[in-house]
Amino acid sequence: MSWWGALRRRLRAAREIYEGMFVAPYRAQIYREYLEQRDLFLLAGFSDLLGAPNPVAFYTLELYPDLIEQFHQWHLRMGMERPPEGGFRCC
């Protein structure tokens, strides 16, 4: 490898190390916060599927196809390999 290539490789490594101290600590926290808000939305929109009465179920049902994948990730994150009874039939 030429010296120019080696220098570029080292500069890229330095940029990535900087990214590590910069982005990595935030990434997990931001994603965790995002997931919490997403879970809250799922609960608000589809509480009837978890057994709690939901007066707007008729309207939120329209979102069902878009949220199946999110629901699947939610129950996996909660440590449930299969979805709870009465919930989304995602897997």
């Binding site: 890229r12 990214e19 590590g20 600590p25 926290q29 931001i30 994603y31 916060e33």
Partner: protein, 587 residues
């Protein structure tokens, strides 16, 4: 001796250690496998388990393990001369600390990213889990108490650092809110925070702040004796005690609130700003050494030790803790880094390489105190500063801060500004460690409360209050805080014990895989032997000085140490018996 020569020799030793010894360990002992499915891939969840580029993970890991301790320890230990400190930092890092960090990262990866605490229970036994929790509890208690005293001493000695340190808290909160609650992104708030911090550092020299002495202590008998009957000098010393005590209390009030806030509000933005300070400080010190090229005026081995100073052997090995080996790193390696390792072969770069970075930080502390600081005060002034053990301990950070000041002057930064900058770096690191320490202590108290069904202990505010109060009592309990730095050897011992326990876990795992164990067993035995010997000497000293608090805390740690040795002996015997029966259970 030229400081450049010392720097070059140290860095070459680290490079050789990384390229030769760590390669041997990774291929022959740990036998890293590039095709092994790491927990980051097996359990990927986008939050904790995330396959991460090795450079990115190195940056995260290094800034998580770096702190104030590798600066403070060597700054005290140079009282024995630069050579013992230099040798322990370089050889300790290469053969013990880096092997430990690398090993804890690797073993956690081989066990689905489990923490070293869980692995202790699984590999050593149930009782070892309790032992681990107790050692961690003492480690946190001591680190919070010691760092409160370190910061208070720096505030008293550098009133110009008060404005930038407390101002940066406000800036960090604003940065946290901007990043999480608006759409401005990370870059601009962070750059703005750095700019404001540097302006505050510059302003600090014009707006020094001295805390009023609200306690009004009367001079103690020791102060009157030290002042040789000069009542005014004794009162001045008592006045400093009052200011220090005020700062310690203010710091624990801060730690109380900081540790109950969500991490993104204060802790993370502060950590991030601190990380920049670390790299800037390292750059300034290296550049300063290269430009100024000061002579290392401290003796290679100090043959005229003060009367109250203990012998370097074995006290050196607990005075320099994190700069050579640190049990705390095992918590980081197994707690977060192991969950993000993309390939098992990256463990060498992240674990071993991260500790080399920490060793480099300790090396800069040696250079700043033995070469830079001496340029300010002269050879005689250096010997005077390190004239007593107590003075060397309490004035360690002052020596470092002034040493960085003179090196920074060589780079073109006004010395007064550079001294404040260095003080801010050390204070910020110590304060962030305090935030985290109090937070973790709260978790341990709550966990114990849940285990023994004590509801009050599970209350967040009460648990934090107990954590903060116990640390504050310890910090102020030894000569009104003036003797707070006497806790440093106890902190070093506990830290080394945590490291020895992690090395024991890795050794037992290697035994079960029927591999050579000397790379981890020798540092473990060395650590246990040195810390036990040093603790016996310390306990004798505390007893003869009638220091009840130190004797009680030291006695408890000594019991834990003996317990650890017994557990180690039992676990190794059991593993050897199993190995003899051919019951290896390699992953």
């Amino acid at each position: 001796m030229s400081a450049i020569a010392l720097l070059v020799v140290g860095l070459l030793a680290f490079l050789t250690g990384y390229h030769v010894y760590s390669r041997y360990i990774s291929t022959r002992i740990y036998q890293l496998d590039p095709d092994f499915v790491t927990p980051a891939h097996e359990l990927e969840d986008g939050v904790d388990y995330v396959p991460t580029n090795r450079h990115v993970l190195f940056g995260h890991h290094f800034t998580s393990v770096a702190g104030a301790a590798p600066i403070v320890g060597p700054a005290i230990a140079v009282i024995w001369g630069w050579l013992p400190a230099f040798l322990w930092v370089t050889l300790g890092t290469i053969f013990a600390g880096a092997v430990h960090d690398f090993g804890t990262l690797w073993i956690s990866v081989r066990h689905r990213g489990q923490s070293i605490g869980t692995l202790t229970e699984r590999i050593v036994g149930d009782r070892a889990r309790v032992l681990f929790l107790l050692i961690i509890f003492f480690l946190l208690l001591l680190v919070n108490a010691v760092f409160a005293v370190v910061i208070a001493n720096l505030f008293v000695a550098n009133p110009g650092a008060v404005l930038p340190v407390w101002g940066s808290l406000l800036v960090a909160v604003i940065v946290g809110l901007l990043i999480y609650r608006t759409r401005v992104g990370i870059l601009w708030p962070s750059l703005g925070a750095l700019a404001i911090l540097y302006v505050l550092i510059w302003l600090g020299q014009y707006v020094p702040f001295t805390l009023p002495d609200v306690f009004g202590f009367a001079p103690s008998a020791a102060q009157l004796e030290a002042a040789a009957g000069d009542v005014t000098a004794a009162q001045a010393a008592a006045h400093v005690d009052g200011m220090r005590a005020g700062w310690v209390i203010a710091l624990f009030v801060y730690a109380f609130f900081a540790s109950v806030l969500p991490v993104w509000v204060l802790l993370q933005p502060r950590d991030y700003v601190n990380s920049h300070q670390l790299f800037v400080a390292l750059g300034i010190i290296f550049l300063g050494v290269l430009i100024v090229n000061p002579e290392v005026v401290a003796p290679a081995v100090n043959t005229t030790l003060p009367a109250d100073a203990p012998s370097w052997f074995p006290l050196l090995f607990i005075t320099i803790a994190c700069g050579a080996i640190s049990g705390f790193h095992g918590l980081v390696a197994s707690g977060t880094s192991a969950k993000q390792l993309n390939k098992e072969t990256d463990a060498r770069y992240v674990g071993y390489g991260g500790m080399i970075g920490e060793g480099t930080l300790a090396l800069t502390s040696i250079l700043a105190t033995t070469a830079g600081f001496a340029l300010v005060v002269g050879v005689d002034g250096w010997h005077q500063h390190y004239g007593t053990w107590a003075q060397a301990s309490s004035g360690a950070t002052t020596a470092f801060v002034n040493g960085v000041g003179v090196l920074a002057e060589g780079v073109g930064i006004p010395r007064q500004v550079a001294v404040i900058f260095a003080a801010v770096v050390v204070i910020s690191f110590a304060a962030t460690t305090m935030d985290t320490g109090v937070r973790l202590q709260r978790y341990i108290i709550s966990e114990l409360g849940a285990q023994y069904q004590v509801k009050a202990a599970q209350n967040r505010w009460l648990a934090t209050l107990v954590a903060v109060a116990s640390c504050a009592v310890l910090a102020l309990g030894i000569d009104r805080g003036a003797g707070g730095m006497r806790l440093w050897p106890l902190f070093g011992t506990t830290n080394q014990l945590t490291g020895a326990l992690s090395l024991l876990v890795v050794t037992l795992f290697l035994l079960s895989l029927k591999r050579k164990i000397w790379v981890t067993a020798i540092p473990m035995i060395f650590l246990l032997f040195m810390t036990t010997w040093a603790m016996v000497l310390n306990l004798i000293r505390y007893y003869s000085d009638s220091q009840a608090v130190l004797l009680a805390v030291g006695g408890a740690i000594f019991v834990l140490e003996l317990w650890l040795i017994l557990e180690a002996a039992r676990a190794v015997r059991r593993a050897l018996t199993r190995r003899g029966e051919g019951a290896g259970n390699g992953c």
